[in-house]
Point group: D2
Chain length 301, copies 4
């Protein structure tokens, strides 16, 4: 369980004391604030703060004075137009700050998205908790045979059990030794910045992550995608639900144009046009490689 009763009490206290503000307010996001949304076995996503709403996107696009909108329909249309034409700067005018608890190997992928602000729990300064990500048995997948970078079918029960034993046993032993190394009882105690090197990549860390909506959409497009590793995808999917509550019109446009959208190459555009004229196009006559053609067939449905 990721949240202790003390922490739960702090969250409840933070949620109990509304204050007046003159800023743009998103009711959907207010309902989310501070609550820990569980992800994986010990992780979570919590909204700590946000700036802006759907109307703020339109206001920036118009660089106008007031709230800048005549009707909700107009705002939706403008937001769809901005998304379709890659006008990204108005989406940068919204910002969100999340508190995230996640395994280190997930954090290592996540941090590659550079246009964000991060404060991570410091294992030089502090002692990490004894919490490790242990996959649910159905997530113990074999190496994909068609994709070097992916998963295939779930492991057979016996192999899965063996894997779980190793993961649990090695994590426990590594943490026991971590504790023993830093202990100052009857010895000097190894520096924390050194002792942490014994800990495996499935240990949990946590950070504050602050990002603007445009760059968040970019992150979500890549990490909520079916090809992303499951363990980061579940975080992205949880954040998608939060964003849908925060900026419903922007999220709907994102779903239509980005998550559900497809980018075709010039060759693929040509093939679609020929097919719509009745021509039967094959990989051989398409000008595409086998890999591209396979993906094109996926697009054709």
């Amino acid at each position: 369980m990721p949240i202790t009763p003390d922490q739960q009490a702090e969250i409840a206290a933070a949620r109990a004391t509304p204050r007046p503000t003159l800023r743009a307010v998103s009711e959907g996001m207010e309902a989310r604030l501070y609550t820990a949304h569980p992800v994986l076995d010990h992780g979570f996503v919590r909204v700590i703060d946000y700036m802006g709403d759907d109307a703020a996107i339109c206001q920036a696009a118009r660089v106008s004075y007031g709230r800048g909108t005549k009707s909700v329909q107009n705002d939706e249309g403008l937001i769809r137009y901005l998304m379709r034409h890659w006008h990204s700067t108005p989406f940068e005018m919204c910002e969100v700050k999340l508190h995230i608890k996640l395994p280190v190997f997930v954090a290592r992928q996540w941090i590659r998205h550079r246009t964000a602000n991060v404060n991570e729990y410091s294992a030089r300064y502090s002692i990490l908790d004894r919490e490790f990500y242990i996959p649910a048995p159905e997530q113990l997948a074999a190496q994909s045979v068609v994709n070097n970078q992916g998963r295939g079918e779930a492991l057979e029960a016996e192999e899965a059990a063996r894997v779980l034993d190793w993961l649990k046993g090695d994590a426990a032993r590594a943490y026991d030794h971590y504790e023993a190394m830093i202990s100052q009882e009857g010895q000097q105690g190894l520096a924390r910045e050194l002792a942490r090197m014994n800990l495996p990549a499935n240990i949990y860390t946590q950070w504050y992550w602050k990002v603007d909506l445009h760059n968040l959409f970019h992150f979500l497009r890549l990490r909520a995608d079916a090809h992303a590793q499951y363990e980061i995808r579940v975080y992205a999917e949880e954040i998608c639900k939060i964003v849908a509550d925060w900026v419903p019109a922007a999220y709907a446009a994102f779903e239509d144009y980005r998550m559900g959208g497809v980018t075709l190459s010039a060759k693929a555009v040509d093939c679609v046009r020929r097919m719509l004229k009745g021509e039967v196009v094959t990989q051989e006559t398409s000008g595409m490689s086998k890999g591209e053609w396979r993906e094109f067939e996926g697009f054709l449905g």
Copy 2:
């Protein structure tokens, strides 16, 4: 006058309707929201939105659950420690969105600070207003004779009058022709994206500018500095006052360690130590160039 009565009414309306929020609230910033603070003859700075306060900086530094502070004094001490040791990421956890109206030549300097989000009024899409920065007579300074990149004394009255005549006359004529070129009465009307090229660099533009507190401090250190051009410095100074109301502890640390701080080279450190031991150090014995020594004398006071 930068603000029309209609705009003033919109601002009053926006300030009249507080709504409840669970987010961190800065009372000093709430008092500022939406109001246009005048700068130069037609410019202004307006706070559109903000995220975070002094406590949010400390909270991020501690990556803790609650508001993360025992007492205000503790927070102030932590903020001073973070500033002194260049721990910049907690300051990135605060964000501000400003609406700024400014001359184009100031905007061209400003935009060089890349770590910010910007939506500028588009002169491809819209028609610029007839508003030009005309310096006050006491700002009409001669080229500095000691500094290639700076100002010297104010111009004599007659020369100043000549300059003002040219600035006003050329701006008026350029704008008359701009209007005449885009007019669609009795002619096709030149595309706005072309007609704008006739307008001088003292015409006003406006933008939404969103930036985190760390990068804002970096901007302010360079642009509120005595060596910055006067026309951008007055914007920086106005923003300094806003930031002092928003995050008083962070701003006080910024003033002490950055604005009032001095960076000494290894050579200068050596000289100070020798001088404190009673040695008389001159430029010749300092190891510094003449330029460096002049700046070092400035440090000595």
Copy 3:
């Protein structure tokens, strides 16, 4: 003419003295180095330096030791794969530094691409040359009647002549007064940082612009696009030719997947599938707005 004989001699000298290097060399780029490629009436693009080639992209993708490639065909296939799947980091491993001379209003659009390094000629420190962009008559287009942000037909001869007279006259007068204001003959001379404000946006400036290949492709996709303003598009087109010589395989993939590519929304994908099954889809049955449908018809060709 953008290049003086002295400058031409310097370029020839720089091109006359090859030196040995162990770094990756692109023959196509060596042939380009230093030469000024003219753009518009006084502008140019010059390659000052570059890092990497097609093989360097593959090498980074493989994080391998040697040149990392078995055959050219393999490298081309890998580069196409990386481009198709938005694996952008290997393209960031190539870098180019350009010297560009361009009108100020083009520079103002250009600088919005923030992920680049820039050193611009300083009008605080130095005196700008008397060079203004005056459009060729066929570029004097009317405001578009269908697109708020674009051009329509060329102006009639008489109107075009009137526009050219104003552009030329105002530029000449503004520059005359600029010179007169900064002159130190018989007067103090206005500071250059102030006098520059009288100059219109079609005056030429110049800068060094350094960018990695991934971000350059992003710039080119937006600015070599048919919807970009003509005056920046011609720079982008010139740079496209340079990049095609520098990294031919990467540029070919960029042309196929980005410049010639099309992004379809989820709704558009659905329509294509229905049409391929023989259904007649109209705007009314598509779920798209009129604007989206018009763009979709463009895709259908």
Copy 4:
């Protein structure tokens, strides 16, 4: 040993084949290219490519045509001026690409420097080598008693031996199980993207890291500092030597103004001035906190 004979042969081959170029060449850097400079027990730093030299910094600062320099002394003076006055953009005009092999816990600190391009060896796609950082006994330091984030004295021999046993034993066991989990002999074999989570933070990874000189200096100032963790500091120190060969004038200015420089707060400046006038200043009369005063005493020497 970080480099296999095969790899050594590849490096030798790459160094054996100079090619002519018209670009700026740094002789000091040519001598470094491709060679692996060992760091820690299995790590290294290798220069893969570079762009620019000291003259290129000056050329960008002058945005001039030719090599832009009359004499070496002038260039050195200009570079010192640029560094002293925080004119950072000319330093951004140089770029370097390094191949680095480093423990994962070092990589996790390193990646926090966001303004760089990175391609890391992928443990989703590939299998990591059995190489772990095991500190030399003299590096096994106790937790600092004065600094929560630092090291104190070396551990006593018996305690050090116990720590080494744990580090070696746990790493070996974790890797044995990693291999056993991904093995496809007699079982399906766990996906590599999952199996990697069992590996501790002292396993080695590698990446290509490309950065401009300004941001590299920022990295070096923080990571070659005495307060940085030893395991990242040794990488920074090795890179310092490389940079000193690459751009000697810029590196000398960096050493004087940044590495050896000291930033004083407004309060500290005031104290220095009072002390130079003969006043005896104590912590009580300084206005500084105890922590600041301790650091100020360090400055006084």
